[in-house]
Symmetry: C3
Subunit: 136 residues, 3 copies
Amino acid sequence: MKLHTKEITIQTKNKFQIIDITAQIQSFISKNKIQKGIATIFTNHTTSAIIINENEPRLLQDIENNLEEIFPENKKYLHNIHDNNASSHLKSILMSPSQTIPIINNELNLGTWQRVMFVELDGPRQRAVNLSLIGE
Amino acid sequence: MKLHTKEITIQTKNKFQIIDITAQIQSFISKNKIQKGIATIFTNHTTSAIIINENEPRLLQDIENNLEEIFPENKKYLHNIHDNNASSHLKSILMSPSQTIPIINNELNLGTWQRVMFVELDGPRQRAVNLSLIGE
Amino acid sequence: MKLHTKEITIQTKNKFQIIDITAQIQSFISKNKIQKGIATIFTNHTTSAIIINENEPRLLQDIENNLEEIFPENKKYLHNIHDNNASSHLKSILMSPSQTIPIINNELNLGTWQRVMFVELDGPRQRAVNLSLIGE
């Protein structure tokens, strides 16, 4: 059993942005010749998330609009006295900072429509995402 | 340390359906004699999720009703121009496509009321769920 | 590759409470000298969750208030005929019972503001959280 870790850097451009990182994860798996195992994708930030869903532009806009309806930026939050981004923290808690995905035949075992995506909720910022592979 | 993977197939019958898959996961752990480790359960679909909660019929109905209140099927979504299931995608993002669970003494280390359940959000369909065990 | 598991016990004092367990996880990693790997944190209860976010008191209050707005305790739920805590179950499903975090240089690879926190949704109760480390 082998273990490989790598940090990837993402420069976001907008307050809200969804960035497909599937190719970068797949490339790290290929390079390390992991045939079988698991990949854990972990974002190091409290106003971001990792999701696995369809990368369809209108759906990504629906995600932005509907998260904003649940936790509007302009609503009154106690945390905003401290730092004006409570809405971003709350949205990230509805999603998750990490996802764990099977690796089979040297590939991320994703379904037809599944893509691994980084969700920026308080950009633009430079972000770090950690990839951890365990397998053989 | 050993690694075992298996794909299980689930045939759903309704648009929304919650299916308990705990016994199938436990059976795969028993068969492979993993005493200690972790099990990752991963659904390969963007309109489904894996949850761990109580398998109580009225609670399952509450889950369906309350997810529908948050993201009603009949609301206007941009993605619906493309494929009429944005509500299903959004519900899946509120939950998660994967869960990772400890294995102790050759058993999934679940609490008294915890069951691992597949959530169909856009059925009926045939679905694939991947089980990955890492342990010894 | 080594594997270590430990159960930690948490005594909660309120109906809703967020408890930072980062130090306990870090201490278990240090003691077992895991330099590199992953840590899976798993709560054994269907009315609790594990989140990774900023431990800022006003934000924790925002989390409590906003989850309560989404799934109010006093709303009518079918499960409440059985056990008066459907709101707690539903809130837990919006979050997750487990999180998997990279370990690098004998430390949980958390970002500056990230803390691992147990969320009690139906306390006060005594709770069990399982820590599983896989690494070398």
